[in-house]
């Protein structure tokens, strides 16, 4: 079994939240754009399923419906800011 993406991250930030709405095209696009702006590698996961936050297709393929619990993990120089920003978007805050 291949190691999980976030297990290969040695120093990382992590945050878990419950989705109010499903992770559809629009929020996925917002996450993708935000994640692309950080040098850190950002991963969004539900249980064992992981998605590269900078890929809109992977984000949608997570199938995160309303009420699902997702974890945001980031590893890199700006990991703290990255997790905060992505969490904010997933939390339904469009102003991020």
């Amino acid at each position: 079994m291949k190691p999980r993406l976030c297990e290969r991250m040695i120093f990382m930030r992590k945050s878990t939240l419950m989705m109010k709405d499903g992770l559809h095209a629009r929020p996925a696009a917002l996450v993708c754009r935000a994640a692309s702006g950080f040098s850190s590698r950002v991963v969004v996961s539900i249980g064992d399923d992981e998605a590269d936050a900078s890929s809109i297709i992977s984000m949608m393929a997570l199938g995160a419906g309303a009420g699902s619990t997702v974890t945001v993990t980031a590893d890199g120089d700006d990991e703290e800011e990255a997790v905060a920003a992505i969490t904010k978007i997933l939390d339904g805050d469009d102003t991020a």
Binding site: S55, I56, I57, M60, A61, G63
Partner: protein, 563 residues
């Protein structure tokens, strides 16, 4: 030939069929394969070109205020340059595929991932990914699905790319015809936002329809007719014309009523129930100018409770959604008999106990009504109006009662506007005095006319006197409007006169800025206001007021409005 499907968006239109390339068999047959590195580079270059094109289109939509379309295009740009797509394409090229097939297969692979998700909205996005894959392939192959020029087009396909639909200039798209059954696709969203008919599920037979074919698309009955004959075209044009007229009539029924020189006239509705109030506001009324409460008392043996009244008033206020809702306290008497008020029998004539007189005669009932109004004021802009006022004392007494009840009512506003209906000659003569105690006036021209002319509302006497065109009635209205103006309160008209296009110019010229009419008359009244100028109306009014009788006024108005 007629094809049947399912109507997704209503309407009918004619246009030439446009078939964006579904597959690229011809182009692929001519395609010359290069080294894997070159093929991969072609994918990278095509992705860059497409993403830029989509981003530019998104910016254009966004600056045009079309956020929804812009968001869709932005998402497509992201899908085009998504790592999942380019990685899969590179793998496919390494496995020996040519660049255009490699991207379309990569798109298919990713589309399947979304199709596995238990969320219909996300599954719908699978077709977006396929579109993007084809769009990249189109760039690599240099395919140009040329759009028929000089004619409106009906976009047709198994799935039509929303990006292609969005890139069409305004007015170019006549309709969208789909072979498949999906209805939530982005192409449909964009087509819907353009208000064009959409027909889906046309089936496999329709696939044979060639690009450039003339067709009628009917989203109302879900059909597509190719190569229609003259009769079919004529019928389609007639329906289109009827639909256009309906849309225009709808527009006429909405929006502010301004005279040609910019005087705003507020158009409110007369109603007798909260259901009517809701329908009126939906039909374009800017509030309720007269809610007749007596119907809440009629047709029942006992009196309604305070709670029942409050519920009705609250509903009416909510129906008015922020607009004023003027509720007239019970106007029993005359021709409106209340079974529960039998003890007034014999006295409740037109010249006896009517309106506010009955209310003072039954103070408990009046208090309950005032409390209900105060309670309901928590939910809207409720204003109280007193009927049949003939003295200052009545207004002062009613205001005292309203203030007393306001102290006891726990919910609702502490103070609500209290207005006076001007419908007796006495009220007109002392309108300057009443204006000091009232927050607004509303002229009830039906009763005012019958009392001034001492003639029953309907009948030969009223006819021969000319009704509200009688100079005595016109002078009474002007006097009332002047008194309101001096006191700085508003003055509306809520009788039949307010819906008479021949009388409306006179009212506006007198300074009446609010007309309250039955909801069914709103479009005509709005059209009447929009058809006159305040300056012209003033000249008409000055001439009318100097005339000897109603016949002369009527002839004068008829002449002026006919020209």
């Amino acid at each position: 030939m007629k094809y049947s499907g399912r109507g997704v968006s209503k309407g009918i239109a004619t246009g030439l069929v446009w078939r964006p390339a579904a597959d690229f068999s011809d182009e692929l047959a001519r395609y010359i394969k290069e080294s894997p590195a070159r093929e991969a580079a072609k994918v990278g270059e095509a992705v860059r070109v497409l993403a830029e094109r989509l981003a530019a289109a998104a910016r254009e939509k966004r600056s045009a205020g079309k956020k929804e379309e812009a968001d869709i295009l932005t998402a497509h740009a992201m899908m085009a340059s998504d790592k999942s797509m380019t990685d899969a394409a590179t793998r496919n090229i390494a496995a020996g595929k040519v660049a255009p097939l490699a991207v379309m297969d990569a798109a298919e692979e990713n589309a399947l991932k979304l199709l596995a998700i238990d969320d219909p909205y996300i599954r719908e996005r699978a077709s977006d990914i396929r579109d993007v894959g084809r769009a990249i392939a189109r760039v690599i192959l240099g395919v140009d699905d040329s759009i028929p020029e000089d004619e409106r087009i009906i976009a047709m396909g198994d799935e039509v790319s929303p990006g292609l639909i969005a890139s069409l200039p305004a007015g170019k798209l006549a309709g969208l015809a789909l072979f498949g059954g999906g209805t939530g696709g982005h192409a449909a969203i964009i087509a819907k936002s353009r208000g064009v008919p959409i027909v889906a599920a046309l089936g496999k037979e329709a696939i044979e329809i060639k690009g450039g074919t003339l067709a009628i698309i009917n989203g109302t009955d879900g059909t597509l007719t190719t190569e229609p004959d003259e009769a079919e075209l004529l019928a389609a044009r007639e329906t289109m014309e009827a639909e256009r007229c309906q849309t225009e009539a709808g527009a006429r029924a909405k929006g502010p009523a301004l005279t040609t020189d910019g005087r705003r006239v507020f158009l409110l509705a007369n109603v007798a129930s909260s259901a009517e109030a809701k329908a009126a506001v939906e039909g374009g009324a800017e509030g309720i100018g007269l809610f007749r409460t007596e119907f809440l008392y009629m047709g029942r043996p006992g009196l309604p409770t305070e709670e029942e009244l409050a519920a009705s008033f609250r509903e009416a206020a909510l129906s008015a959604v922020g607009y004023p809702c003027v509720i007239r306290t019970m106007d029993a008497g005359g021709d409106k008999k209340i079974p529960a008020l039998q003890r007034l029998a014999g006295e409740d004539t037109f010249l006896g106990k009517r309106g506010i007189r009955v209310s003072f005669d039954c103070p408990d009932m009046f208090r309950a009504e005032l409390r209900a109004l105060l309670t309901a004021s928590a939910d809207g802009d409720i204003r109280v109006m007193l009927p049949m006022v003939t003295s200052v004392a009545e207004v002062r007494a009613a205001r005292r009662m309203l203030e007393t009840e306001a102290e006891e009512v726990t919910c609702g506003k502490k103070s609500i506007p209290l207005g006076v209906m001007i419908e007796t000659p006495a009220a007109v003569m002392i309108s300057d005095k009443l204006a000091k105690y009232a927050d607004f006036f509303s002229i009830g021209t039906n009763d005012l006319t019958q009392y001034i002319l001492a003639a029953e509302r309907t009948g030969s006497v009223m006819d021969s006197l000319g009704g509200y065109f009688h100079p005595a009635v016109l002078r009474a209205i002007e006097r009332t409007a002047d008194a309101a103006k001096s006191a700085g309160i508003t003055c509306s008209v809520c009788g039949e006169m307010a819906e008479d296009p021949m009388a409306i110019p006179l009212l506006i010229a007198m300074g009446i800025d609010t007309l309250s009419v039955p909801a069914s008359s709103l479009p005509d009244v709005r059209a009447a206001v929009r058809g006159i100028s305040l300056t012209g109306a003033k000249l008409l009014k000055d001439a009318a007021l100097a005339m000897d009788d109603a016949d002369e006024v009527k002839a004068h108005m008829k002449d002026a409005l006919a020209s």
